[in-house]
């Protein structure tokens, strides 16, 4: 690397490393991602803050009272707990719902006819003093019939909760009625799960669920990075042009040197950021594993390991993707005067990043189909799709080689074209940019 590229790279890297933006981004990045993952769950819990009153009118007289009691406790009618009969999951769910106190269930006063009850309830509903009311009747076969009335019927959590509780009681009563012992019931309720093994040439067999997650995770990571770091490169080029310092710089170095120094400097910054995150996550992981083996004994751990070749491939395609797209972003940044013009030029390129992320589930499902092979060989798509393919099933060596060669050629072509555009673009002010204009510049 020549000295000039190195000086540009150094400035680009160090001045950003020391900036508040980088420090804040490095700290807040993971917080934001975790936030986005858990926020919906937190929000859903928060909306259930105030309990909603629901009146129950039980024509059958079989369920009403039991609905109010904790399903963990034995009830008079069944002498059974859900857990006794192997319905652990449902029991847990109901216990949780009751603990959350989302529902304030009340039994209708005795001696009312259904019509009287309904009329009184409708009044309360419209006065908003209750959330809804539930009528329990039974059909000719003794199967309970549930009818729920409310002014707002969109809270599916409440609806499913009510349904589930009556269902669980119905099941317990049926078991009791048919005289089935808890042991038998438990046997009936036994569920089995399927373990999936992947056969590879090295003979290893491993759980395939994790490699699928890995494929999506890595693909999405590359996708995000190309957008984020691409736009940082674009901003940087644009700033230099707007502050007019660029003319001084290209009177000292070739535009190509400036372009390369900038891309490599910001790329290195990105790698630094990921290294910080990676090490932090690694340390937390090690600590977590240590805690697990301390409490659960040795051998217990997270059965999740990433093969080395996947990591190598990920790093290669990650860097390759960044290089290909950032050269383009740099050229655009150097050619435009304002953000609006930049957006217009960048949008078609953004599609080249978005398309593979839309195709990734197709490709992962059938990684050796013609479609997957062709898509993953397109140099603009390779970073995401080839990484995903390698994660689920290693493609033949010649396909990997082909994608590496194609990406390298594309990168060289992009650098060549971008440097040309860069040279003309940085000195061009007050001109609205179009693609045809950009292509014309390459000939100057």
């Amino acid at each position: 690397m020549n000295r000039r590229i190195w000086i540009i790279l150094k400035r680009e890297y160090l001045s950003r490393l020391k900036s508040k933006g980088f420090i804040i981004g490095t700290v807040l990045g993971p917080v934001l991602i975790l936030g986005m993952t858990f926020l919906p769950a937190v929000l859903a819990m928060m909306t259930l803050g105030e309990p909603k009153t629901v009146y129950i009118y039980d024509q059958t007289g079989l369920y009403g009272n039991d609905l109010l009691t904790n399903p963990q406790e034995k009830t008079d009618l069944t002498s059974l707990k859900l857990k006794d009969v192997g319905n652990d999951e449902m029991a847990d769910q109901i216990a949780q719902e009751q603990a959350g106190d989302k529902l304030n269930l009340k039994i209708a006063k005795n001696g009312q006819t259904p019509e009287q009850f309904s009329a009184a309830m409708n009044d309360s509903l419209l006065a908003k003093s209750i959330y809804g009311y539930l009528l329990i009747s039974s059909d000719s076969l003794g199967k309970p019939q549930l009818t729920f009335y409310s002014t707002s019927t969109s809270d599916y959590l409440i609806l499913t909760t009510l349904e589930r509780r009556v269902n669980s009681l119905f099941r317990l009563k049926n078991l009791a009625r048919l005289g089935i012992s808890p042991e038998t019931a438990k046997e009936i309720n036994t569920t089995v799960s399927m373990k999936v093994f992947k056969v590879t040439e090295s003979g290893n067999q491993e759980d395939s669920g994790s490699s699928l997650m890995l494929a999506f995770g890595m693909g999405f990571f590359i996708y995000m990075s190309m957008f984020i770091y691409g736009s940082i490169v674009m901003q940087s080029a644009m700033e230099e042009k707007q502050s007019r310092i660029v003319e001084v710089i290209i009177s000292s170095v070739r535009p190509f040197d400036l372009l390369m120094g900038k891309i490599l400097g910001i790329g290195l910054l990105g790698l630094t950021q990921y290294l910080i995150w990676g090490l932090t996550a690694g340390l937390i992981g090690l600590y977590g594993a240590a805690m697990i083996s301390a409490f659960a004994g040795p051998g217990a751990g997270i059965g999740f390991s990433v093969p080395l070749y996947t990591i190598v491939a990920f790093i290669f395609y990650f860097i390759g993707g960044y290089l290909i797209f950032s050269t383009f972003y740099a050229a655009v940044g150097a050619s435009v005067d304002n953000m609006n013009d930049a957006q217009q030029i960048v949008t078609p390129i953004a599609f080249l990043i978005i398309i593979p992320i839309l195709m990734i589930s197709q490709v992962v499902r059938d990684p050796n189909s013609t479609l997957a092979v062709i898509l993953s060989l397109i140099p603009f798509f390779s970073p995401i799709l080839m990484t995903a393919r390698i994660a689920v099933q290693v493609p033949p060596w010649y396909e990997i080689t082909a994608s590496v060669v194609l990406m390298t050629l594309t990168f060289i072509g992009m650098v060549w074209a971008s440097a040309k555009i860069y040279r003309v673009g940085v000195l061009m002010y007050g001109k609205r940019l179009t693609f045809t204009e950009l292509i014309k510049w390459m000939k100057y």
């Binding site: 900036s19 007019r244 003319e247 000292s252 170095v253």
Partner: protein, 305 residues
């Protein structure tokens, strides 16, 4: 020595510089003059190796311009700019390093120059914290940081207050003494009259006049007088055969057009209280207008000041 030979630059169908040739030797200040859009900046950018001529050659000290000549060249573009968020001294050091200086040497020289320019206290402030005038000084400082042999200044005085303008003028004369080549480009012709040794006048990309400033002025004769006076300026309207080149309430420049000066002075002396009379050379502006008119251009098209 900087030599341009038949340099032509086209942007699409527009010819920015057309077959331009001139040369300037060490220890000289060359004024590159012409109205806005005449091709001055296009010419300078080719000398700075930012753009390349379509034909013709540019050679500095026997070397065609390129990476090598860039290192011994200092360029102050018309549009000034620095990294706003960098500290003053860091920004200076970076630009010095780009010119092949060692980091430590660039910093040392930068601090020296900051002191010379009275900006020592600002060395560790961010550039954006400086006033516009101070930023200009920093930029001029970076132009000469690496002790270049060729200094290109594009409109160096624009936006400078009189004190800073004087500072730049002194700097230019200083550089000349150090046997460097200074290329001073401007559309304000009066700015270069005092300092330039040689001039190149360009109009619409074509070099219309080129040579030693003294000789050119001699060539165009000493045909004007400046008269300062107390009295009614309308007296001058009664003169015939002469041309009023410049007219103010107490200051008039007359172009004699070959008329004898004595009768004019006696006439004026009768009506006005004359304070000063001086034979003057034609201004560069007049020379420019005369030249381009002779060559068939319409001088009113350029925005000459």
């Amino acid at each position: 020595m900087l030599v341009l030979t038949s340099v032509t630059k086209k942007y699409g169908s527009f010819t920015a510089v057309n077959d331009l040739s001139f040369s300037v030797s060490r220890g000289k200040i060359l004024g590159l003059l012409g109205p806005n859009g005449a091709g001055k900046t296009s010419t300078i950018r080719m000398i700075a190796n930012i753009t390349f001529p379509d034909s013709g050659s540019i050679v500095f000290d026997g070397i065609p311009v390129g990476t090598q000549t860039q290192e011994v060249m200092g360029y102050l573009p018309e549009e000034r700019g620095l990294y706003k968020r960098m500290k003053v001294i860091e920004g200076i050091q970076f630009l010095g390093e780009l010119k092949n200086m060692k980091a430590a040497a660039a910093k040392k020289r930068g601090l020296e120059l900051l002191e010379e320019f009275g900006l020592t206290d600002w060395a560790n402030h961010k550039i954006e914290a400086l006033s516009k005038g101070m930023q200009q000084k920093v930029q001029i400082l970076t132009t000469i940081l690496h002790d270049p042999d060729l200094i290109i200044l594009d409109e160096p005085l624009s936006g400078l207050d009189p004190i800073n303008a004087e500072l730049v003028n002194n700097l230019i004369v200083d550089m000349k003494k150090q046997n460097k080549i200074i290329l001073f480009s401007t559309h304000r012709m009066e700015q270069v009259e005092k300092v330039c040794d040689e001039i190149v006048l360009v109009n619409k990309g074509i070099g219309v006049l080129n040579g030693n400033l003294r000789e050119i002025k001699k060539q165009f004769g000493r045909d004007s007088v400046v008269i300062e006076f107390d009295g009614d300026v309308s007296v001058f309207d009664q003169l015939s055969g002469v041309e009023i080149a410049d007219r103010h309430p107490k200051h008039v420049e007359l172009k004699l057009n070959g008329n004898a000066i004595r009768p004019i002075i006696s006439f004026l002396n009768e009506h006005l209280d004359i304070q000063r009379i001086e034979r003057v050379e034609p201004s560069l502006k007049d020379i420019f207008i005369q030249t381009v008119t002779e060559k068939g251009f319409d001088p009113s098209e350029g925005d000459l000041i």
